[in-house]
Subunit: 308 residues, 2 copies
């Protein structure tokens, strides 16, 4: 079905799928590993995706996840496994609810609650529609945008391979356009296309987890959009955020309005309604290639001066 | 300080404040009562506010709540007390996190996680601004809009007194305008002004809890906006939602970007990006009277045909 997309077995999507293959420790207890090239702390999207796959493993397959709410409590240590414990809050006729605690070194590092729902006949149906943007095939990949500027990136980022093909539309990736002498202007939304590098298994939980993983890659970047100086093409690094600012995810919430396929093109837009008091808030939406809203999300982050 | 607003001791705001005065059962365990005029199920905003005040009672007062994430798991029984148990997930230098379980009849009816943060020097500050709307003083109250139409309302609603003064701006309350022969047109946002009926104690946690309570009053109404038939002035009851549709809150998340005073005018707008498969999703914002974004929120609801 996907003849246009040869799947090679050394693509980073397989690293991501490996991260989602949790070890079962016992009833409702699972163990996950971290990506070996992770640096000082575990990537939030990885923990959220692992916790969600742990919760999903305890729920009947006829009820897909429709929402998740999570908090990042402590930085994850990539050198040691993460243990996930699932609490079965409820199994009703139409809904199941789970709470997951991720633990390392005896402490809760992350907590997630998720709800699962047997799809019902809709009495009301509507959906916001995607903004008009160029098709992904007409856009360069993030990798192509970055390639001429690898020497300007921190060393650990140069060899970073993402499990998804990202096609920046606006905002996200503009710094590389500027560095290449192409125009970029102030916008209030980051927009990208993404899809997995290679086809994914059919299991809908895997698609949701890949979308969760990707969502955490760039949600907080939208907070920086308001403060980007497009006249300065040297200092700002839009992929990591401003180099003088350290940021960390505080929470992450997602609502899955419809099934999502993460190996087909997804349009992902984020914006930031507010920042202050050391925090910044971002909201996002994911649309199908034909413009239907599939996912809403919200994330708050901590923004501190790198010096502090 | 509020000479313009005489506080009478029989206003419903005192019922709400009484609901927030939880009984302390032991370390991190609290008991709450429900409003005696509650009908078949406990109002979600009451449970969320009580769980939040329980969590706040276990956190140092120098760190106000900045976000909450919650799930409604089972309908609350108004005839029996609700027990709240707080788990201390973390007390760090800058942040505290709590998880609260509400129980009735031995079952978890509601779960909330909340995060508290010592405000920091902001390295980034921005905020969305409020839409241009008429000042609250120029608008009729919800009570005044309803008054001529009490006979059309279900009996239990006729005597309902809200703890807040609501001034509908658009969407919310339009049905009563239509019934009075005034024009109303299709809009994509519900907008109201609200403030407590009477001054509130200084404790910032009380203001946050009142805002939480109010937010749950109308968030899901925005899902119905897309489907309202403004040519039919007889059947739709916009305060309760369409009479042929039963709705229930599934979750509730809020982000408090800045301190909010619920006894000063707050502009509250909600809209719905998507509905389908039996669910509807709404997002909202609360602004100060001078137009600064104070609160963001998101809520998903279950929408079923009344016949089912």
């Amino acid at each position: 079905v996907r003849q246009d997309r040869p799947v090679s077995d050394n693509e980073p999507i397989f690293d991501l799928l490996a991260l989602l293959a949790l070890e079962k420790l016992g009833d409702d207890r699972f163990r996950g590993q971290s990506n070996p090239d992770t640096l000082t702390r575990v990537f939030g999207g990885q923990v959220a995706a692992q916790a969600l796959i742990a919760a999903s493993a305890t729920v009947a397959p006829d009820r897909p996840v429709h929402s998740l709410h999570s908090y990042f409590l402590r930085p994850g240590d990539p050198s040691t496994p993460i243990d996930y414990e699932v609490e079965r809050l409820r199994d009703g006729r139409g809904f199941s609810a789970r709470r997951v605690s991720a633990r390392q070194h005896g402490k809760v590092t992350f907590t997630l609650a998720a709800s699962f729902h047997v799809p019902e006949r809709a009495v009301l149906t509507h959906a916001a529609t995607a903004p008009p943007v160029p098709r992904p095939e007409t856009l360069p990949t993030l990798k192509e945008l970055i390639a001429p500027h690898l020497d300007k990136l921190p060393k650990f980022l140069r060899k970073r391979e993402l499990p998804v093909d990202i096609r920046p539309v606006q905002g996200y990736g503009d710094q590389f356009r500027l560095w290449s002498g192409k125009p970029a202007e102030k916008v209030d939304k980051d927009i990208i296309w993404f899809r997995s590098n290679g086809a994914l298994p059919e299991d809908p939980a895997v698609h949701v987890c890949v979308a969760t993983y990707v969502s955490d890659l760039m949600a907080l970047d939208a907070v920086l959009l308001w403060h980007n100086d497009y006249s300065d093409t040297s200092t700002a690094n839009r992929v990591l955020g401003r180099t003088d600012i350290a940021m960390a995810s505080l929470d992450h919430a997602m609502w899955f309005h419809e099934p999502i396929r993460a190996d087909e093109w997804v349009l992902y837009e984020t914006t930031s309604p507010a920042a202050g008091l050391g925090r910044g808030f971002a909201v996002g939406r994911m649309y199908s290639a034909d413009g239907r809203l599939l996912v809403s999300l919200a994330q708050e982050g901590l923004f501190r001066s790198q010096e502090s």
